[in-house]
């Protein structure tokens, strides 16, 4: 096997040095009654070319662009990834390194993550960002737990317009705790309804998503103002599409204490939902309560600039059960990809790309409206929006799949109160011709 360098002669020499008669003798510390009785029942090892054929065969069973036109976003977005990012990320000095425990031989990773943290704070308008979390969902759960730690209150509120799968993760994280999760309902505008939220002083944090699951942009400044009418409650802004902040006012400038969400949009392929990265930023006041790794700037004994992992007294390897989180490995390489992507776009590019995404979605939304379909929420959207298709649309949906068009995602399983509502997404990768085709097909 090409990954195993030992020759029989090597093995014999090494066993001799150890004083063992055979490889099996090395395992004498495993008692007999703990030894496995049977051989591993695994498929026979494949050569590299057999493996290529097998994997290509599996990949060919998948519906992906350009063959298929997929109008689904809902937390995973198809954006163009420049070749530069794939090539640079392939530098194996980055991708075959471990967590930078030895900073002198990890300055590449450390500077890249420091830059990622910086670009993230600039994108979200907050002071500090960590080196990444697992995904948007666990970032939100961790943000809510952080608000509980800071305020020592036992309740949190989350909008029903936060991604349904994120809300499931929050509920799973909160299940064994004594803390309560309250859901905020949906307004007719497709935005979060906070009017019923009483006893704000009992809430540790209130979380909304913007753009929300329906694509609608939330009125963050009004929500923030209300939440901050209690001076301890934390305002948490979640997101699934950070590209929106290339053009929208950022969460920090609208009062967010913590902004957290999924960063897959920034140069990371969908890859059936992972790996992406959880982005996590907060006001400086809360720096020492943050979960996750942080890279900080310092200098070496000669006064040269350098970077290290820092504030690790918050973390599990030092604080053990009293740590701010149990996280150890994060999504470092995806964070590096996100930084590369933000650097490639630049300030000028990200704005143009965000505008393009917005315009494309607005075009399809308008065309569908013109074709007679109901667009139930009139709030501005970013690159996703809701359409109400006629009753019995499931049949059309199935027909379109056969024509290699995936016309959005049904909202009904997660929102039974909205029958026949579909969530559609368009990014810069979708041509006008593709959208015109969709309109034609759903109309006919």
């Amino acid at each position: 096997m090409r990954y195993l360098p030992h020759t029989q002669e090597d093995i014999a020499d090494m066993l001799k040095k150890i004083g063992a008669g055979s490889l099996d003798d090395l395992f004498t510390s495993i008692p007999d009654d703990c030894r496995r009785k049977s051989d591993l029942d695994l498929p026979q090892a494949k050569t590299e070319w057999e493996l290529n054929r097998h994997m290509s065969g599996l990949a060919e069973q998948m519906a992906v662009c350009p063959d298929y036109k997929v109008f689904i976003g809902a937390g995973s977005y198809d954006h163009y990834i420049p070749e530069v990012i794939k090539q640079l990320l392939g530098r194996s000095e980055f991708f075959t390194a471990y967590t930078p425990y030895q900073p002198e031989m990890s300055q590449g990773t450390l500077q890249a993550i420091y830059e990622y943290q910086t670009l993230t704070t600039r994108l979200l308008g907050l002071d500090v960002a960590n080196a990444s979390m697992y995904d948007g969902a666990s970032s939100l759960a961790e943000a809510l737990l952080m608000s509980v730690r800071i305020t020592r209150r036992k309740k949190v509120a989350i909008s029903r317009l936060i991604h349904p799968l994120y809300r499931q993760v929050v509920r799973t994280y909160f299940a064994p705790t004594e803390f309560e999760v309250v859901e905020l309902p949906v307004l007719e505008s497709g935005q979060t309804d906070m009017t019923g939220l009483q006893d704000l002083e009992t809430f540790a944090g209130v979380a909304v998503q913007s753009p929300n699951y329906f694509g609608c942009i939330e009125n963050l400044s009004a929500l923030g103002e209300k939440i901050h009418s209690d001076n301890k409650t934390l305002f948490i802004v979640s997101f699934t599409e950070p590209l929106a902040y290339g053009i929208l006012k950022n969460p920090g400038s609208l009062g967010a204490d913590i902004a957290c969400g999924e960063g897959q949009s920034l140069g990371v392929p969908s890859s059936f939902g992972g790996p992406g990265l959880g982005m996590f930023a907060a006001k400086k006041t809360y720096m020492r309560n943050m979960p996750g790794r942080l890279v900080g700037r310092t200098q070496d004994i000669e006064g040269k600039r350098g970077f290290v992992l820092t504030l690790s007294t918050r973390e599990q390897h030092i604080r053990r059960e009293k740590a701010t989180s149990n996280i150890c490995s994060n999504q470092g390489l995806c964070a590096t990809a996100a930084a590369m992507y933000m650097a490639t776009l630049g300030g000028t590019g990200i704005r143009k790309l965000a505008e393009l995404n917005h315009d494309k979605a607005a075009y399809l939304q308008n065309e569908l409206k013109t074709a007679g379909f109901e667009v139930p929420f009139d709030t501005p959207v970013f690159n996703e929006f809701v359409v109400k298709f006629p009753e019995g649309f499931e049949k059309t949906y199935a027909n379109l799949l056969a024509k290699k068009i995936v016309p959005g995602l049904s909202l009904t399983p997660d929102y039974p109160e909205f029958p026949d509502y579909y969530l559609l997404c368009v990014t810069e990768t979708m041509d006008k011709a593709d959208m015109d085709l969709l309109v034609k097909e759903v109309t006919s």
Binding site: F27, L58, R91, T96, A97, Y245, P275, C328, T344, Y363
Partner: protein
């Protein structure tokens, strides 16, 4: 030493991203719009993030320079104990980047996603075979999230029996993630001391285990590189009091094909695909932490689960006792592909991999025992732990030895862990290092030990060949500067 690995070369400086570039440049190929402009209402529009504008060449040189300041498994030996830094096969990268897999949307109708579902289904099956635990979830994104999932399973299991147990037993050799993960589920950690042989004594576990204790978390082999030889008896003690046994599989690389975890009495185990199954660690992640369980815990696994019905793979949420979800979608699927590719490439040679990993660790141990203090002088598994006790006389410490190894061109071992060993140097060579590479590493450490006697300053000043010298970590923590 004839050919010293560590040499000097031209190291290029590189500023921070925002210290370069010029407004108006771009590195992105922006398409022209083919739709009319549809301006957003003014009040929603912000000033836009203050990102530097860089050309494609600016970006390429920037990250190329940065990469040269890094050291990975492809650069050389990386014997970081408990991290299993084995070679990351290149073919795995090819498989994960196949457009059909990399571009697959997670919410595709399942009939259009049969390829990825088959990969998940088969990977679960293979991991079940390797561990001996029949049911698997691939959802946890890393080892620590696997532990959290395991603790949520413990919680759900006891709640089903109408019990809210509040304690958990954790050996003093455990990774810090164990108590931190247990704490998230409201379990108070009770530390179990390892005995003079470096393993757990059944009597100690028996004395602490009671009906308010949810179970025990055991790393086996443990972080001293020793097999917990009383594991069966310990499992029996824990089970007799209604508790469950969690195995931290971080060190699974020692025992593939050698043990069956179910036979040891293990109820729940997490694997680190970025350790045992060769997926790259990416300078901090992404990892992947599948959790394998016995039949009686299967109903509690996270949803959705991949099921195979009438010749088709489906994602099923129909598991009413499930703990829920720990990841928005299905975990780090891109990493799962790499592990799947590795298992298909290795087949039953996974057992050989474990045997050679143990051979390499024992070879290191025997070759270095005359110069470094061995706190537990017993046959080790995939890693061995030394200390700086013999070198302290020359006023050099584990940290200095580690830093000097960098000048010799090796990544240092894990240092000062496990906590029960003072000045620990925890070495895990893995099976993909050849005898010649091990010999070079041994020779380097022997020379360093000699330097400690003759000229300790060489250690105290190290490293001298890297881009930066020792960094001021105190300053970084006292005056945090986390963004530029």
């Amino acid at each position: 030493m004839k050919d010293l690995m560590g040499s000097t070369g031209l190291i290029l400086n590189e500023p921070l991203l925002w210290e370069k570039g010029k407004k108006g440049r771009t590195g992105f190929s922006l398409p022209n719009s083919d739709v009319p402009s549809s301006p957003l209402v003014e009040e929603l529009i912000g000033v836009g993030p203050d990102f530097p504008d860089l050309s494609e060449v600016d970006v390429v040189r920037h990250y190329t320079h940065l990469s040269t300041w890094n050291f990975g498994v492809d650069s050389g030996m990386y014997p970081l104990g408990s991290c299993t830094m084995k070679y990351n096969p290149k073919t795995n990268e090819r498989q994960a980047s196949l457009p059909g897999l990399a571009q697959a949307h997670p919410l595709l109708p399942t009939e259009l996603a049969q390829g990825v579902l088959r990969i998940m289904f088969d990977l679960e099956k293979h991991l079940a075979e390797i561990t001996g635990l029949p049911a698997v979830t691939l959802q946890p994104a890393a080892g620590a999230q696997g532990e959290l999932t395991g603790m949520l399973l413990f919680y759900a299991f006891h709640m089903m029996n109408k019990e809210r147990r509040t304690k958990i037993l954790i050996p003093d050799t455990a990774h810090g993630t164990n108590p931190a993960s247990a704490a998230l589920c409201g379990f108070r950690s009770i530390s179990v001391a390892s005995n003079a042989q470096g393993v757990l004594s059944p009597d100690d576990v028996d004395a602490l285990m009671d009906e308010d204790t949810a179970g025990i978390m055991v790393t086996n082999p443990n972080t001293l590189g020793l097999f917990e030889e009383h594991i069966k008896q310990i499992s029996d003690i824990v089970h007799a009091k209604g508790g469950l046994v969690y195995a931290d599989g971080a060190n699974m690389n020692a025992v593939m094909g050698m043990v069956n975890m179910a036979d040891l009495g293990v109820d729940v185990l997490h694997l680190n695909l970025h350790k045992t199954f060769s997926t790259p660690h990416g300078g901090g992640g992404p990892g992947s932490g599948p959790v394998c369980v016995t039949k009686r815990l299967e109903p509690f696994l996270p949803v959705p689960r991949v099921v195979h019905v009438q010749g088709r793979y489906e994602l099923s949420y129909d598991f009413p006792e499930s703990i829920g979800k720990v990841h928005a979608f299905y975990g780090n699927f891109g990493i799962q592909i790499r592990a799947y590719s590795y298992i298909l490439s290795m087949g039953d040679q996974l057992k050989t991999a474990s045997q050679l990993a143990v051979l390499n660790a024992n070879y290191l141990k025997e070759s270095l025992r005359d110069i470094f203090h061995l706190p537990y002088d017993r046959p080790c598994m995939h890693e061995c732990v030394f200390t700086d006790k013999h070198q302290q006389a020359y006023k050099v410490s584990t940290l200095d030895i580690a830093k000097r190894l960098i000048d010799y061109g090796f990544h240092p071992p894990t240092v000062y862990f496990p906590l029960v060993v003072q000045g620990a140097l925890m070495m895990e060579p893995t099976e993909t290092e050849s005898k010649e590479d091990l010999d070079r590493f041994i020779e380097a450490l022997r020379q360093i030990a000699q330097e400690a006697k003759d000229n300790p300053d060489l250690l105290l000043q190290a490293p001298v060949k890297t881009k930066v010298r020792r960094l001021d970590e105190t300053m970084a923590a006292r005056k945090p500067c986390l963004a530029g």
